[in-house]
């Protein structure tokens, strides 16, 4: 199952690597990751992960990090679970 999470975190030293390390160590493989400055303070990290474990568990594990202000778990992307044969053609272009 794929999960997408938006993580607002401090810009303190180690915040990004701490969150990324937790993601992999807790059994979620990282598909993509981007880090950018947040509008207010800190940074926003957007990650896409794959795991058999539930995304809300990862959300709660990230939330207990002192550096993490807020985690938003985006709804799961269902289309990826559909067999290839019933995908709309437009998705392949």
């Amino acid at each position: 199952m794929n999960h997408t999470l938006h993580i607002q975190l401090s810009s303190c030293e180690g915040a990004v690597i701490r969150a990324l390390g937790l993601i992999e160590r807790r059994g979620f493989s990282l598909n993509s990751c981007s880090v950018s400055e947040a509008d207010g303070n800190g940074r926003v990290m957007k990650v896409s992960v794959t795991s058999t474990r539930p995304g809300d568990l990862l959300k709660r594990q990230l939330e207990r990090l002192h550096d993490v202000f807020y985690v938003e778990l985006k709804p799961a992307v269902i289309s990826k679970l559909q067999p290839p044969g019933i995908r709309p053609i437009s998705r392949r272009i």
Binding site: E13, G14, L57, R60, Q61, E63, R64, H66, D67
Partner: protein
Amino acid sequence: MNPSTHIAPALRSGSQILIEALERNGVKQIFGYPGGTIMPVYDALVGSGLRHYLCRHEQGAALAADAYGRVTRKAGVCMATSGPGATNLVTGIANAFMDSVPMVVITGQVPTALQGTDAFQEVDIFGITLPIVKHSYIVRSVADIPRIVNEAFQLAQGGRPGPVLIDFPKDISTGMSAVVDIAPAAPLEARLPDATALETASKMLSQARRPLVIAGGGIAISDSVEVFRQFAARTGVPVTATLKGLGVMPTDAACFVGMLGMHGNGAANHAVQNCDLLMVVGARFDDRATGHLAQFAPSARIIHLDIDAAEISKLRKADVGIVSELAPALEGIRPERKANPGWCAQCAGWKKEFAWRYDAPVEGIYAPKLLRDMSQAHPEGLTITCDVGQHQMWVAQHCEFDHPLDHISSGGLGTMGYGLPAAIGAKIAKPEATVVCVSGDGSIMMNIQELATLKRYGIDVKILLFDNSALGLVRQWQELFFDGNYSEVDLSDNPDFSAVASAFGIQSKSISKPEEVSDAIEWLFNTDAAALLHVSIDPMDNVWPLVPPGKPNHKMMRSNPVKGR
């Protein structure tokens, strides 16, 4: 402002600011080992109000600080230099992390300008410890020290406690600043339970025919032992305990069925496998407690109480999760009626059926009986620290504890070498306690150097060393699950442990016959200083019962099917 009345804050070194910040946070004792980059801090230590205990290995210092933190429920503090000093702390930090122990760790670091250049004794301890700390800092400015130290204590002790690391570069410790001190941070705000969840939990308990509570280590960590006992008395629900929950209920309490899990009591494992409602209080479904998870408590609905939201449904889905301080949650769960008397009677029946027996046909000294007798001979209570292995399980099974903090055992990490430094930390934290370190011949050698710490500071710790000339628990598994193919478990060339103790200036005695036990135990407790009693036991003694790996908890082995013991 009138310039004549303005007094500029005095310039102080980073080390002085650090030491004073520790003092302001209530630190009285600290465990450590000096070295290159931490030398300015050791310089500032002289003449301060802190008592420093020099352990003989940084791991000993970290594990002593761990036990100190468990007993006092305040952060234990340890300190070491950069590089190997810091890496030697790692096992102690992981131990504290796994068992939710408050700890503040201070490591020296090479000067900022040299970081990242592979300088002498440079290691990225911040990076190495990321997965095993609750939080960590590299100090980048002298002026940040008071804030960082305050935060470190607030985080280490608040919520679910854990270790916090402060990496302290040498240019920061020698740098000067006029930063003013700040008062220690207020404790983190207590998290209170959700009223609807309490109501649902109360209703589920009222409806349950076969309810059971698992009491975990979180009860003692959150100082909720009394509230838990009141809850148990009010509801009448039978109680089992994890390794770290032992002592939450008196062993002889009618509703208490003992420890569950791999080496748990048959009564506890049968109760847990047959219950229809399981209320888990401050425990985390560790695999040593659950056995095969998919078959754990198969008919039970789950109420899970924990301060850490990430524990709810981590391993077993909770029907109701209550994220809260435990005491208000326990006070708020009020079933309409007491637990079903028929079920309580069944649990009491199991307790009787699976009561420990001490008539095993062994020729030599039977360790479980010795431990039971020692425990019962001290109704005033002992504080027992354990190493890891067969003796650790025998302590959990056969000693009685008035309070969970009287049983200091490395639960999550299972750290061989914990017992002796833990005894040092526990005795310093609680000088009035009679502290016994129960160890094995494998474990004691992992931190044997701490005998020198005992001697140097005159710390009165009693060491009970069971010697089966083997790595007993590994040998037992090789006997049972590896067809008796014994691989690297023979320790029959052990040193003469009595002579080793004597060489460190510690009184010692060796016994090997059952008729010597009584006098030897009396001798151990009547010595007025640290002493070591070396007890030779049968190398083939095993810990029973045992839930084999991958099996559910009720499939306990009670003896080796081939040899019958």
